[in-house]
């Protein structure tokens, strides 16, 4: 195990004091013998996963991070692949290891207990209905698309159905299966998603829910959910926050 960095000089009255969450991250991501598997859901342009992959050494303390991204859109998969590859060539000394984009619905293609860090920027805008998933013709990469097809794909990137939570709720339900025993999910929420209620629902998820294949958790452990970042007050109705979820 690596030594925890000395922080005795840090003024905690204005700097966040390393707490359970920080140490959890250090433990999760810096153990020398294990490589973290990081997955971004709905990466869109791929900017977030490219950032995390290209700066893996700086952010996670090790370049031995495997990354992937899953999106329903073939265009997002292709864009993400290129964004990540470019970012890596510009940051070869700090980059982690990009595997491949996967076209799919949330974490459904991933084996149980496989994900150490999950990042999800969901379609969070409340809408009367959830758009239908892309039908077969829209699942294939091609040169020309119609205006209606483009509109449909764009709608999928933001429309979240009731409370903007229909897709995010499905992901939360899948977390016990897909996160490793030490896995952490970062989920972005807007004020309309009723974040306090969402966190309450996560904390109420039963202790003892399965941790995937062969990675069971001890008894009495529950799920934790804390806000770890906010966009501040000026963002108006779309005020955003990032919630960290772990067990």
């Amino acid at each position: 195990m690596l030594p925890t960095p000395d922080t005795s000089h840090v003024p905690y009255n204005r700097v966040y004091e390393p707490a359970e969450d920080s140490f959890l991250l250090l433990d999760t991501l810096s153990s020398p013998s294990e490589t973290a598997f990081l997955s971004s859901l709905g990466p869109g342009s791929g900017v977030v996963i490219a950032f995390l992959t290209a700066h893996a050494s700086t952010i996670f303390g090790t370049p031995h991070v495997l990354t992937t991204a899953i999106d329903v859109s073939p265009f997002a998969c292709a864009a993400t692949d290129l964004t990540v590859r470019k970012a890596i060539t510009e940051n070869t000394s700090t980059s982690g290891h990009w595997t491949s984009p996967i076209q799919g619905d949330l974490v459904t293609p991933l084996r149980g207990g496989s994900v150490d860090v999950l990042v999800f920027n969901p379609p969070y805008v409340p809408t009367p209905e959830l758009p239908s998933p892309p039908a077969a013709p829209l699942q294939e990469l091609r040169e020309k698309t119609t205006f209606e097809e483009d509109s449909h794909l764009l709608e999928l990137t933001y429309a979240g159905g009731k409370d903007g939570m229909e897709t995010t709720d499905r992901l939360i339900e899948a977390l016990p299966r897909v996160l490793s025993a030490r896995g952490v999910a970062y989920i972005l929420l807007c004020a309309q998603n009723k974040p306090e209620e969402v966190k309450g629902r996560i904390r109420a998820m039963g202790a003892g829910t399965s941790a995937g294949e062969g990675e069971g958790m001890g008894e009495g452990e529950g799920w934790k959910a804390e806000t770890v970042g906010t966009s501040g007050k000026q963002a108006g109705w779309e005020k955003l926050q990032i919630v960290r979820v772990w067990r």
Binding site: F37, A78, I102, D105, T108, R111
Partner: protein, 127 residues
């Protein structure tokens, strides 16, 4: 899609999650490509604990690569086994499946791989 990625993929059908036959998925009519990547022994050693070795053995054989040892090597063994390092590097890091299908051993559903991207979106009757 890298062979590395394949080791993290399972059938997307809900009922298949509880079956051991849904992992690993079986490549069919696979067209492979090889990236030229510099070998990174430390990365391979670190990746090892996250790899499902039994599944990798299956995949290696199915793709026509040499049979891997039955048990995963220890980090120390791998460090000093240049031949195995090279084999794993080629298989996990360099080999890409560009076209073909991935077949679930439980429900038989075939996932298409096109332009190196596997499509796990299910037809509505399987969701």
């Amino acid at each position: 899609m890298k062979v590395m990625t394949l080791n993290f993929l399972t059938c997307a059908v809900k009922n298949c999650k509880s079956s051991n036959d849904s992992f690993p998925l079986h490549p069919k009519e696979a067209e492979l490509a090889k990236d030229d990547i510099e070998i990174n022994p430390q990365l391979l050693i670190n990746v090892l604990p996250r790899i499902d070795w039994a599944a990798l053995r299956t995949t290696s054989t199915e793709l026509g690569f040499p049979t891997l040892p039955e048990q995963p090597p220890s980090p120390e063994d791998l460090q000093s086994d240049e031949a195995l390092l090279k084999e794993l590097h080629e298989l996990l890091m360099e080999t890409q499946m560009m076209e073909g299908k991935l077949v679930c051993g439980h429900c038989g559903h075939e996932y298409a791989v096109k332009n190196g991207v596997a499509n796990f979106l299910l037809p509505s009757h399987l969701v």
